[in-house]
């Protein structure tokens, strides 16, 4: 059974600092996604990672995938308040439904 674990679950960051969110998963998978959810809103796709060593970047966010370690990271560079949200990773294999982590609630403070 595929399990997805994110940590930390809560993260309070100062503006301008860097931090990393980790996503571990338990069985071999071929797709990993990062989603963002703003309070009261639905989930929005950020990144799709399909192969070992894949790296995607957009703005201050960079996601990477290490399939051998079954680990993905979401790195935040020089955090700004607009990045405050909940971030989910989700993992899938073939056409099976995605399994989501519990989410990391990020709060960026001045």
């Amino acid at each position: 059974e595929l399990k997805v674990e994110q940590n930390p679950l809560f993260l309070s960051m100062q503006e301008g600092k860097n931090y990393t969110i980790y996503c571990n998963y338990s069985t071999t998978s071929d797709r990993l996604y990062w989603y963002r959810q703003d309070p009261g809103k639905s989930l929005e796709s950020l990144f799709v990672l399909l192969s070992n060593g894949a790296v995607k970047q957009e703005g201050r966010l960079m996601a990477s995938l290490d399939t051998k370690a079954r680990l993905s990271t979401l790195h935040i560079t020089a955090a700004v308040h607009d990045l405050s949200a909940t971030y989910f990773c989700a993992v899938g294999s073939g056409n099976t439904p995605l399994v989501f982590g519990k989410g990391t609630r990020l709060s960026v403070i001045a």
Partner: protein, 114 residues
């Protein structure tokens, strides 16, 4: 733009009532999903469907049923609502086959059962 539309953003129902949550997508996606989201528990899969008239149980199907009579529409039914079904319900859709198959989510339906 892929759109997944959930018919009701907020609903308040009484215990024992029958509840219908409707979801429609406009991009000809084969796959449709219903999740519920609760604080501290993340997203949990209730039911999913890979084709018309096809349905599969997810991780927490008890107390729920679904209907997919048309490709674009996937309905979640609570036959007799209970207070522990108070939650945010999220519908999503995706293409099938190889490739990224990104899940696109609707805006969510927040259900309160009194």
């Amino acid at each position: 733009d892929v759109k997944v539309t959930q018919s009701s953003r907020y609903l308040v129902k009484r215990t024992g009532e029958k509840v219908f949550l409707e979801c429609v997508q406009d991009m000809d996606h084969e796959n449709m999903f219903w999740y519920r989201q609760d604080p501290g528990l993340g997203l949990r899969l209730i039911y999913f469907s890979y084709d018309v008239k096809m349905k599969e149980k997810g991780d927490i199907p008890e107390g729920y049923s679904v209907s997919r009579e048309k490709k674009e529409r996937f309905s979640l039914i609570l036959e007799s609502a209970s207070t522990n079904q108070t939650s945010m319900y999220l519908c999503a859709s995706s293409l099938t086959g190889t490739g990224a198959n990104v899940l696109t989510f609707g805006a969510g339906s927040r259900l309160t059962v009194l």
